[in-house]
Amino acid sequence: MKYVLLFVETESFAEELTALPAEERERAYALAGKWFADHADKLRGGSKLQGPDTATTVRLDGGDAVVTDGPFVEGKEVVSGYAEVEADDLDEVLRMVRTWPGCPLVEIRPVEQ
């Protein structure tokens, strides 16, 4: 089955990461990189996204398309990246996500077949 992992960052997580000494921040990135390498057999692509301050939202439900600055929900939790995963079942995905060393939230969504 195919799943998409949505990596979600919280404000406090982003602040803590910024506050880290450069060396430790590098180590945090390296851990995330190692996680991607460890699960390369199941990963089918994905990307880190640029920050929510770069987001543009288009709302189409009012007739005319309304373009606004920012993500579609203003909140403390923002999607910061995604990855596609191919796995036998949800337990396999849960097993790999449990060891994710980065942002504090990951949403797992099965892909429509």
């Binding site: 089955m1 799943y3 796995a87 036998d88 079942d89 949800l90 337990d91 995905v93 849960l94 097993r95 797992i108 099965p110």
Partner: protein, 409 residues
């Protein structure tokens, strides 16, 4: 006692209602496990079993329980499946391969339990699914037992089954390193079923059936996982509650507190068996919350009279329980035991720091009232009882509190 479970049809040669419930429990889960294995489709298999159970509850009370209930249920499920899925050739082939579950085949119901209690499902759905799929309850029976509209239960079940299929929740045993967490989920579900059945009342008479279901589920898990001490602990806990259930209620349904129960009505044989089960589990040297809760209940059950209770031991067990699973409610129970081990002043001191966390919990205020009365502050006690009264809807508990407010000094 399981009359509520069955169809309203009269019993004519069909065995008692309790027997009917027992037979359905014994076979529904096995059939579900077989159907899931062969079809690989949890939701469809579950629907077919439910159809067969509903048909059995309609027909067995008048036609009698068949010689081979498993074969009967299987045949109904299979024919329904063929009817319903006539257009799906692939499905028909699978169903055609289906054999009646042989008694020799390994018991797959454990996998069934782990799928129903998967942590990706909401708790209420885990409970409803387990009762329906593993115990063979109908949706209507689950709804009655939990005092929830049938449509609500049906919707929970539909959503849960959709998620099982759509999200790829597997039908397999958890890996060894996941087993502890997953077992904990399953035990929580059984514990919730037990708790819901613990306080049957006049307007909630079907709750007591749930204790039978909790007992049966815990016994099934214990049979399939005999080396797991927490499973044995939960089974002992269920059995210890059941052994004393008769003494907890007056003939009119009124609640009898432990202190005033007629202990000659306790089932001493059942208590001894449960205590033996617990001792065997304890020898594995892996204590856990269910073993400790059962040990606390066993302390009470072992005492011939209220005065014989080993309160020091009870307090010690609560300390261990709090160490493993800290919770304000457990601290409240420890304080109650402490009253008898060290006096009401010591217990009152323990309650003070819980006031915020348990402000909405009626038993906190009821306990406070008892302690205040014991230290000679009747006015404050009455106020606490009134607060408790405002927080519980249970008729038996309300009657008890009212008596205290009206009659105590």
């Amino acid at each position: 006692m399981t009359a509520a479970r069955s169809a309203p049809a009269p019993q004519t040669g069909g065995g008692s209602h309790a027997e009917l419930a027992r037979v359905v429990r014994e076979h529904a889960g096995r059939l579900a496990a077989s159907l899931v294995r062969v079809t690989g489709d949890f939701a469809a298999a579950e629907d077919l079993v439910q159809d067969a159970v509903v048909a059995a509850l309609r027909r067995w009370p008048t036609e009698g329980i068949p010689q081979r209930p498993d074969a009967w249920l299987y045949t109904v499920a299979r024919n329904r499946g063929l009817d319903r899925l006539r257009r799906d050739a692939n499905y028909r082939t699978k169903l055609a391969q289906l054999q009646p579950p042989a008694s020799a085949e390994p018991d797959d119901r454990l996998r069934l339990v782990f799928t129903c209690c998967h942590p990706a499902l909401p708790r209420a759905a885990q409970v409803a699914l387990t009762l329906r799929v593993v115990c063979g309850l109908t949706t209507a029976q689950v709804a009655r037992a939990f005092l929830v509209p049938e449509a609500t239960v049906a919707q929970r079940l539909t959503r849960a089954k959709r998620k099982i299929t759509a999200a790829g929740i597997p039908y397999r045993m958890p890996d060894p390193d996941e087993l502890n967490d997953r077992l904990h989920e399953a035990l929580t579900v059984i514990y919730l079923v037990l708790n819901e059945g613990y306080l049957p009342t006049a307007d909630h008479p079907h709750a007591r059936d749930l204790v039978d279901d909790a007992d049966w589920l815990a016994a099934l898990l214990h049979r399939l996982m005999p080396t797991e001490p927490e499973v044995a602990g939960l089974l002992a806990l269920v059995r210890l509650h059941r052994a004393r259930a008769e003494a907890r209620f007056e003939p009119d349904g009124g609640l009898v507190l432990l202190e005033h129960q007629d202990r000659s009505r306790w089932d001493r044989q059942a208590i001894a068996e449960a205590t033996g089960l617990l001792a065997a589990a304890a020898r594995r040297g892996r204590p856990g919350p269910y073993q400790l809760q059962a040990a606390i209940v066993a302390c009470h059950a072992d005492a011939e009279r209220w005065e014989d209770t080993d309160w020091e031991q009870v307090v010690l067990l609560y300390d261990m329980l709090l160490h493993l699973a800290p919770s304000p409610v457990t601290r409240l129970h420890r304080a109650i035991a402490l009253r008898y081990a060290a006096g009401p002043d010591a217990a009152l001191a323990e309650l003070a720091p819980l006031a915020d966390a348990l402000d909405r919990y009626h038993l906190f205020h009821a306990t406070l009232a008892e302690l205040l009365r014991a230290v000679g502050r009747p006015d404050a006690a009455r106020a606490a009882d009134r607060r408790a009264l405002g927080l519980t809807a249970n008729p038996a508990e309300r009657a008890l509190l009212r008596r205290r407010i009206d009659w105590s000094p």
